[in-house]
């Protein structure tokens, strides 16, 4: 004889709903904007002293760093660009320094020759 009160109160759609509730809960406080086929969203940042997200903020801070430093992609590129810029600047300065040394040497040689003659 079949028991009439046997019922299954679970379905796949229930599980999908609870999964979506989890995702929505995790997404709370993040707003998304769509412009020209691209998506932009704001990520709330905790103002913890140990977690710097800006390159300059981190570099010039007097606080001790935490165990982890999280950088977003744009900050990472900012660092790369700054390093490249600094390298090219150093190359230029080294080149200028060599020219100055050559010029100074030439002036000294001329001065010495003038003094001797």
């Amino acid at each position: 004889m079949l028991k009439k009160n046997l019922s299954v109160n679970y379905s796949m759609s229930d599980s999908v709903n609870t999964f979506r509730r989890f995702l929505e809960k995790k997404s709370e406080g993040i707003r998304i904007d769509r412009k020209e086929g691209k998506a932009f969203w704001d990520v709330p940042v905790n103002s913890s002293e140990a977690n710097y997200t800006g390159f300059l903020e981190f570099a010039y801070s007097t606080n001790l760093s935490g165990d982890y430093v999280y950088l977003d992609r744009s900050t990472a590129f900012e660092i790369v660009n700054r390093l490249n810029w600094m390298e090219s600047k150093i190359k230029r300065l080294v080149k200028r320094e060599r020219i100055m040394i050559l010029l100074l040497s030439a002036v000294l040689i001329i001065a010495v020759l003038g003094w001797l003659t």
Binding site: F22, K26, S27
Partner: protein
């Protein structure tokens, strides 16, 4: 607040007063007793108090209404399941079964479970699996119970019990021997109580009260974030993008060429069953019921005792240490997931396909196999809808197509 919480706290106090040392396992033991058909496995070397702990718990919850069978003695089927009532058969020709006290008792203990013969193990396995036992063609349905077993894993004179049997135990706790200060404390207690720890243990609650507690715990609701955390945690121990579950190829050979070789999956030979998720959910509910809250840190602490006996490890020599390391890895992964805001991106993709978000999701998936798995499912849907081609999917990019 439930009026029954003080009973649980008193039970904990009485247990702690008598069972000295091993502080790290007491909370999980108490929490695991708060759901229906609770099962606990205690593993320890000989003489470290595993039988005492088992008896203290059973006495504290059930008074004298508990039965302990010993794997070390010759246990017959009739003592564990049931035997035929001979007079009924002789006089009336009726096969009447006298069910064993072990089946009927609400508190069940198995001493030295790894010494049980395979036939007895099979009967107990069936009881734990289906909540029923069979004898002479008759069935006995077992209602709510608490089953505590113990074993010395280093005992050489034992049977190899099958992994599915151990999987039926909600948690496995490991005991350590006592430090000298703890030895002094135990001796002091024994002096005062006539060297009979178990007899001195009072029954703290009635079975009706325990049942009410278990009902209340069952009805406790968890936040979606906690449920999600548990599901992600267990999935991290289960997942293998190379199909470990249905492969005969052993680890680490299977992992060769895999993108995710630094992940937990590469150190798990046999993943935990879905029971791990169910038990962790029950423990989380119990924690919330008892303490008023449960957080992700609590879940990670509880996970150790849920996973240690149901996960086949690549380095099984020191299981507790290995599980500790894997859970430590898990903490970092969860932190990284939060930093990447990946669940938000997945939520957006569930709402609708967006090419730029999809590109970001693919980058994230390269760092997270659990996220990748969910993205694979979405990709299948988008392929059917004609939004993307199979060639541009993450699966194709990872060489898994």
């Amino acid at each position: 607040m439930s009026s029954l919480r003080p009973l649980v706290n008193r039970f904990k106090e009485e247990l702690e007063r008598r069972f000295i040392g091993n502080e790290n396992i007491k909370s999980i033991l108490i929490l695991n007793l708060l759901h229906k058909r609770s099962t606990i496995l205690i593993r320890a070397p000989r003489g470290t108090g595993k039988s005492t702990l088992m008896l203290l718990i059973l006495k504290g919850l059930f008074g004298d209404d508990f039965v302990v069978i010993s794997g070390a003695s010759e246990v017959k089927r009739g003592e564990v399941v049931g035997r035929l009532h001979i007079p009924s058969l002789e006089r009336k020709g009726i096969e009447k079964v006298l069910w064993a006290k072990f089946v009927e008792a609400r508190g069940k203990g198995i001493d030295e479970v790894n010494r049980l013969n395979p036939y007895t193990t099979a009967n107990i396995h069936h009881l734990m699996q289906f909540g029923e036992v069979w004898a002479y063609g008759q069935k006995y349905t077992v209602e709510d119970y608490t089953l505590i077993a113990n074993e010395n894993p280093n005992d050489s004179t034992t049977f190899m019990q099958p992994p599915p049997f151990y999987d039926r135990f909600d948690i496995a706790v490991y005991l350590n021997s006592l430090s000298i200060s703890q030895k002094f404390a135990l001796q002091e207690f024994n002096e005062k109580n006539g060297y009979d720890l178990v007899r001195s243990m009072p029954q703290v609650m009635s079975f009706e009260e325990l049942s009410q507690i278990r009902r209340e715990v069952e009805e406790t609701e968890l936040d979606p974030e906690i449920t999600g955390f548990i599901n992600v945690l267990i999935r991290d121990f289960q997942i293998c993008v190379k199909g470990k579950e249905h492969s005969n190829m052993p680890l680490p050979v299977l992992c060769e060429g895999c993108h995710f070789t630094r992940f937990i999956c590469s150190r798990v030979r046999e993943p935990p069953s879905e029971r791990a998720t169910i038990v962790l959910l029950q423990l989380a509910k119990a924690k919330k019921w008892l303490d008023g809250n449960v957080d992700e840190k609590d879940i990670l602490e509880m996970a150790k005792w849920v996973l240690v006996h149901r996960t086949g490890l690549l380095n099984p020599e020191k299981p507790l240490k290995e599980i500790d390391e894997l859970i430590e890895m898990e903490k970092e992964r969860m932190f990284e997931r939060e930093s990447r805001k990946q669940w938000f991106i997945l939520n957006e993709l569930y709402s609708g396909f967006n090419p730029s978000l999809y590109r970001t999701a693919k980058e994230i998936a390269a760092e997270d196999n659990v996220f990748a798995e969910e993205l694979f499912l979405l990709e299948e849907k988008w392929i059917k809808e004609g939004k993307i081609s199979r060639e541009e999917t993450l699966k194709a990019e990872l060489g898994l197509e």
